[in-house]
Symmetry: C2
Subunit: 531 residues, 2 copies
Amino acid sequence: MDMLWSGWGDPAKATPLPDTVTGLLRDLLGVRPGSSAPVALGDIDVPPAPLDAVARRALAEAVGDPAYVRTDAETRVRHTRGKSTPDLLRIRAGDIGDLPAAVVLPASHDEVAGVLGVCAAHDLALVPFGGGTSVVGGLAPERRRPFIALDLRRMDRLLALDPLSRTATFQPGLRAPQAEALLAEQGFTLGHFPQSYEWATLGGFAAARSSGQASAGYGRFDEMVLGLTLATPEGTLDAGRAPRSAAGPDLRQLILGSEGAFGVITSVTVRIRPRPQTRRYEGWRFASFEEGAAALRRLAQDGPRPTVLRLSDETETLIGLAQPDALGSPDAGHGTGCMAIAGYEGTARDTAQRREAAAGVLRACGGSYVGEEPGERWAHGRYSAPYLRDALLDAGAFAETLETAAFWSRVPELYASVRDALTASLTEAGTPPLVMCHISHVYENGASLYFTVVCAQGEDPVAHWAPAKRAACEAILAAGGTISHHHGVGTDHRDWYVREAGDLGVAALRAVKRRLDPAGLLNPGVLLPLD
Amino acid sequence: MDMLWSGWGDPAKATPLPDTVTGLLRDLLGVRPGSSAPVALGDIDVPPAPLDAVARRALAEAVGDPAYVRTDAETRVRHTRGKSTPDLLRIRAGDIGDLPAAVVLPASHDEVAGVLGVCAAHDLALVPFGGGTSVVGGLAPERRRPFIALDLRRMDRLLALDPLSRTATFQPGLRAPQAEALLAEQGFTLGHFPQSYEWATLGGFAAARSSGQASAGYGRFDEMVLGLTLATPEGTLDAGRAPRSAAGPDLRQLILGSEGAFGVITSVTVRIRPRPQTRRYEGWRFASFEEGAAALRRLAQDGPRPTVLRLSDETETLIGLAQPDALGSPDAGHGTGCMAIAGYEGTARDTAQRREAAAGVLRACGGSYVGEEPGERWAHGRYSAPYLRDALLDAGAFAETLETAAFWSRVPELYASVRDALTASLTEAGTPPLVMCHISHVYENGASLYFTVVCAQGEDPVAHWAPAKRAACEAILAAGGTISHHHGVGTDHRDWYVREAGDLGVAALRAVKRRLDPAGLLNPGVLLPLD
């Protein structure tokens, strides 16, 4: 199934906002319903594909069938940009400035290599396209020349599963739920559940250095990856002969996070684990974000580690966004303080033991147990926030998220300064926002912070948001955070990424890119600035 | 204190072989005592330093004092090569073919940068020198031009400790025991205990992607590193703003394992942990290597994880090398089957709980508990194998180690084929060897194999060993192993590393090197072949 072209997910799952929320938006944020409905897909005036017949034939040859080189308007619109709020606002308004020339669907590594050859011969840029869920402009390359979107959905097979070593090798275009289903048949799970889970692909997880909601238990995607195959214009790069090695720098970690700028990931070998026998998610309440964060830190540092561990700040708790589908519902466990969710997955015995010990720590750190209901609500709504955003946009509100991470000692300042920067910028622009935050990923040495901003849209909502986003990025760098914990760099974060990685770091990566992609065909301007 | 120039460690700790071992060498391996004593250091004819007065003055200026530019014979000999057996055999014979032109001792990042500038101006190559413990030819660059050894021992400070985030930042030249002592003052440990522990430095651990004996509990060094500063001829590269990030490829993992070829590591930020309250090491016996390996795999995959987990094969168990200090001692717990060591460090409660649960798994997998004595013997002798090697060389025997890692399903074939390759090659050469092996590092998805080879020396012992080493390397690649799990690449493994990383992997790394070190001054020929 294709995702809603103008928003998120399965159109059948769209739900309007409850009246309480509409009232909240109006009374608290001054949101007025406007003419914010998306244009009709058929009304968008799509120019003909800038692709000559020779190039088209060559692409068709590379993928074995002209049917896999698509230039119809709808397919191209559906591959225009990703799913950030500015992306949605633009596409809803019919802005197709980042339209691909064609969408090409290879079925194998060799076909990808063939397509790369055609691109080089015909001076076409190429954007690898998995689930299309980028929220950082990762699918909107600089347009000095036409580009094709390389949609990897046909590369959706489980290539190998080694139950003894607990590894599985997948093609990149497989979506996460299908990967989980294939693993489940053999008793395994990957355990990677980012918010984009229902739509995102394994190749995309690798390219973007994804991190899932159960990272406390299963680790980040970059920690799960044991092997990668990368097709580049200069040939194939295979990385990962052993779980760990001292044979030079870790080439896997050079490919992970390369966001399609170095090549197209054509296979991913990941660590897999036995399917959990039991799952239990529960809620804990803390008096303050600081107190809750200290509890999370203690579990992250001294254990035992829950599988899922998150903490909403006071505002997010009050609004109830800790359980998106219960937003506005009076019985959703909102209230004062900060809601934490602790989830446990594993064998029945391990889950019970970890839960009991972790509960002792949470209690000792000031937490009050508030039952399984908030946990189950969170688990039930864990993938629904992007649907809520569509409804908010429909209602004339603006809603966007951004995230960062830092060492523990930096977290309080990072939290305060990003929140203050967003609030100050949007207030100055005449749309005082609601800024909410949660910690969703914890490490021994630090944590991530995930911010949600809701406000009125302003006259030109994309332009209206830009200064606030810039202010948040500046605040992140100033407070010692990384410009992205799991969304990635794309084009939206590139200017700050360049400052974070430093001149020489960027120069080293550009040297790699130049070697693997000398003509600069791959995702030009994504991750790294153009020469 | 300086290490024994012609061998390992503190000369006061040298111990002769027990008579039983001498007998074993003679009867089993045909080792005959020969004229294998090292030459005297004073008898080596050291040529004058190929360093003109201008370069010498410039180097002295860069490090602030002519006393830190050393060209005396003894200092240069002491910085010639590392501590592989071929290295020792050569230096014992007075072969100083890899002699540095000078030894330079900087005290700060800026001084390192200054020295790099002088090297560029005077066409001198540079080899970063930490503990000097490389066993893969990592300190023996190609000699198209003179090189200086950059001895980092003056850069031995703890720069910062963040108890909340549990991170510590060290200068690179600090030795591991001193780092542990500084951390212990504040209640912390690093937990990195490779066999080279007593002499190796933190910068060396990072450059060589080290892994310690307690890796099951504390992780590999590359997993401990949170931040790095790299001084290069083209400027400074800083990596690591957060524990984890999605902001591009992980630059830390590009520096880790770069073996001085990309730059000089001038600071390392590592994860630290509370000092363990208790330590308990114990022995378990398995009927076969296969059975023991399955037990280790189960603990690595399903837990609970001991802090130390190792398993000697039948030969190593029989000889008693599982406890090097007890070699030849009749009460050392030798015997049939395979000895495993399981060690637990942590709080008293956590240690007891993990131990109990792990013991249940080990027992269920066929293990028999043989008490704490073998564990304590192992712990007591954990750093003494290199001393034993010196004694073996003195006795006219040849002894060397090599190691690899693979996914679990590959481990049995890897084990058999490396052992067979070594045995066949050395037997053919007329010196049938004793080949012993242990698993010393376990992961969810695979394990390392560490081989020890002992045989008679042969006429020209360095040349005699070369074909066996080549055969082992070929067997490793053919069986799907990595050419090094923790020793690194250096010059000894380079030809196989190039095949493991592949043409394009090597090309990507060479592109990085060219960007950071355009004149090719840094460790030329180490890790990557010359252009």
